[in-house]
Symmetry: C2
Subunit: 233 residues, 2 copies
Amino acid sequence: MSGGEFKSWQSVQAEVLRRINAREWKPGDFIPNEAELSVEFGCARATVNRALRGLAESGLLDRRRKAGTRVALNPVRKATLDIPVIRYEIEGKGQTYRHTVLTQERAMPPSGIQARMQVEQGIRLVHLVTLHLADGKPYVFGDRWINPEAVPGIEAADLAVKSANEWLVANVPFEGGDFSFSAMTAGKREAEILACKEGEGLFVIDRSTWNKGLVITSVRLTFAPGYQMHTKI
Amino acid sequence: MSGGEFKSWQSVQAEVLRRINAREWKPGDFIPNEAELSVEFGCARATVNRALRGLAESGLLDRRRKAGTRVALNPVRKATLDIPVIRYEIEGKGQTYRHTVLTQERAMPPSGIQARMQVEQGIRLVHLVTLHLADGKPYVFGDRWINPEAVPGIEAADLAVKSANEWLVANVPFEGGDFSFSAMTAGKREAEILACKEGEGLFVIDRSTWNKGLVITSVRLTFAPGYQMHTKI
DNA sequence: TTGGACTATAAGTATATACATAAAAACCTG
DNA sequence: CAGGTTTTTATGTATATACTTATAGTCCAA
């Protein structure tokens, strides 16, 4: 059992993957430890570690110190999906991008937004509704709230030139973001803006972005009918 | 500039992240090479490598041999999202899970499915419609096609006991899958099955799974209104 | 001026070694 | 035997070193 021809972490990973897929190692099984595998594969333990770490990160293996490594029992797979800037997404399809600011104002947020953005009651936020068009046709519209305390300079910016999203990513550092994906039914407002029928199912992304504990912005993107998001594992 | 207190790859990564966020290193900038950083941070080059590799994987840095490492110019962020088995998702929320098989038959697939599954014309596939319930209420229904050539034994399995998805992940190895997320409008059929109103917007996941070039199964999951998928970066 | 060969460079990887850390398992001790 | 302590063990990490590989940049010749 000393094949000894696995000299790169990729080949070790491929071999481990093969054994999992071929059910030589079944879900729940402990696999040999790193030291044993390094002997079997004829490589250093660090190489085995590198290979197994990758598989653990993608959810295929469970690893615990002292306990060992086992093939994951519940196959929660992790897919990575790209969150592009809308302009790049549209231009990447060879279409021309344009966007317009429908309204821009300073206003009291509704309670849901106020809660999600963790601002005190009575604070007025920047409220911005924009429409992004692909080849002149409505593609997605964004209903966005921005915390001006977290983003000094936003009110001086000309968001008709550069979209709010692009302005923010270019000018405001952020640590993280929450995303949620869902569906909604087009009401009168959505139907008008997106030039679709009332009652159509629309794809929705809600995103909040924060930095240093402050929520910078919260936006709801409502896509025109037919929009799809893809990924693979 | 020899701080020298970054002795773990996590702390190096955090410091690099801080500099990017603080715009000390701006998008498009080349950052010092690994050797220089290892001197500055007072650690080994391998440690710097480990830190930067992670950031490159999440799309924050662009790395090329010989050229060097630069802060990513276009901020395509990569979010990872978990694809759980529905039963775990429901049970994880503390609700009781149940599923029923609405129909199970061997039939000719419509042309869209036939194309996606890359089977020859005239081949009959297993067609399965199932409903998954959370606390007795419709949660999601799956319209699934299975290629019996890729899955010997599927027709003998009792899919009323274990859902098709669970049976497949437990019994059939697979290499990869395609996912697409979208929204649809509830028609009469969806409204009936999910006990919702016609014309509601529903969240939809289409998934195909393959192994060794053969498409194993293709399923459309249509979720009851209100479903959300979450992730963060 | 183009295009191919060469070179220098930065990331990528492999390895032996050593130590750190989490946690299961064994061992007390009252 | 319960409850706490110690030991053991597998993974996790750091390091120096050496080599590999991709490729930007340079040089040279047709």
